[in-house]
Amino acid sequence: MATNTTAVAGRESLTAAPQQRGRATESAIRAPVDIFEDSESITLAADMPGVPKDRLDVRVDGNTLLLEGTVQFELPEQAEALYADVRSTVYRRSFVLSRELEAEKVQANPRDGVLTVRIPKRLELRPRKIEVQGP
C-alpha cells in the first residue's frame, strides 16, 4: 500500500494529504479540487472555468487518473492584456488510483466549468457493517 501514497512525477494520491511535489514542467494551471469519499465511491470536483465538454480529457492510464481541459477563449483581435489572474489556457491534474477503485467505471460530468469525476469502489471491497454482539 505504501506505493499508493507516494506521489510520482507530479501525480498525487487521491486520499493522502498533499505532499511536496516536483515542479511541473508544463505551463498548465493546477485546477483546484475537492476530493471526498463515501461508502460507494470517491468523488472529485475540479474547477476548470472556460472548458467546454468537447475540450475535456479525462483518462485512466494504468493506475493514473488524468484530468485535462483547454479553455475556449474568444479573444478579439488586437486584444491587449491589461490584467490577468489566469495566464494559461490548460488545466491539468493527475492522481494515483488505488486498487479498490474501479478505474474502468469512471464517470465524468462537466457543468458550468466544474468537472465532477466519480470513481466507484469495487463491490467486494466496499466496507461492510460489522455487527457487534454484546453479552
Binding site: 471526498f36 463515501d38 478579439p76 490584467y83 495566464r87 466549468g113 466544474v114
Partner: protein
C-alpha cells in the same frame, strides 16, 4: 469541521505553490495594469482577466459552477464590483481529503479607469466564465501630455533649489 480546517491549510499551501509556479512561468510581466488603488490579491475568487481593444474593455470573470443570475456585477465611476456567494454543498457523511475550491462569500472590485462607459454593458456566461464588454469613451484615446515649466529659471525642479541665506 476538522476536515475543513486542515484542508484549508492544505489548500493555502497548494494555492501558494500554484501561484509561485505561475509567476515563474511568466515570460516577463508585460502587463501594465494593476487595478488602480485597489490591490488585487492573486488567487482570490473569482479570478479575472482584463483585455482592451481599440473600442472595448473586456472583463472575464472565472466563476465556475455558478448560477450567473446569483452573481452581482455592478459598475460605477469606472470601478467594477462583483460580489456573491459560492455555495459548495458538503456531504456530511463523506470523508474529505481535499477542499481546495473556494467556497463562501466574495467581493472584489477592480478599477477599469476613466475610459469605460458604465451604461453600455454586455455580459455573457459560458462554461463558468462571465464575459463583460464595456465600450471605451472617445475621450479615452491616448493623448500627448505637455509639460510646462513655470518662470524663466532654467534650473529644475525649482523646489529643490536652495536660496543663499534664505529658507530652504
Amino acid at each position: 469541521m476538522f476536515a475543513r480546517f486542515t484542508s484549508l491549510q492544505n489548500s493555502l499551501l497548494d494555492e501558494f505553490w500554484r501561484l509561485q509556479q505561475e509567476m515563474e512561468e511568466l515570460p516577463g510581466d508585460g502587463l501594465s495594469f494593476s487595478g488602480g488603488i485597489r490591490p488585487l490579491p492573486r488567487g482570490s475568487f473569482p479570478a479575472i482577466n482584463v483585455v482592451r481593444t481599440p473600442e472595448e474593455m473586456q472583463v472575464y470573470l472565472f466563476a465556475p459552477g455558478r448560477d450567473p443570475k446569483k452573481l452581482d456585477i455592478s459598475i460605477q465611476q469606472g470601478v467594477l464590483t462583483r460580489s456573491g456567494e459560492r455555495q459548495i454543498p458538503i456531504d456530511e457523511k463523506a470523508t474529505y481529503y481535499r477542499q481546495e475550491r473556494f467556497g463562501g462569500e466574495f467581493r472584489r472590485a477592480i478599477s477599469l479607469g476613466e475610459d469605460v462607459e458604465a451604461e453600455l454593458v454586455e455580459a455573457k456566461y459560458r462554461d463558468g466564465i462571465v464575459q463583460i464588454r464595456l465600450h471605451r469613451r472617445e475621450s479615452a484615446k491616448p493623448r500627448q501630455i505637455e509639460i510646462r515649466r513655470e518662470g524663466g529659471d532654467t534650473s529644475w525642479p525649482r523646489t529643490l533649489r536652495r536660496l543663499p541665506g534664505g529658507n530652504p
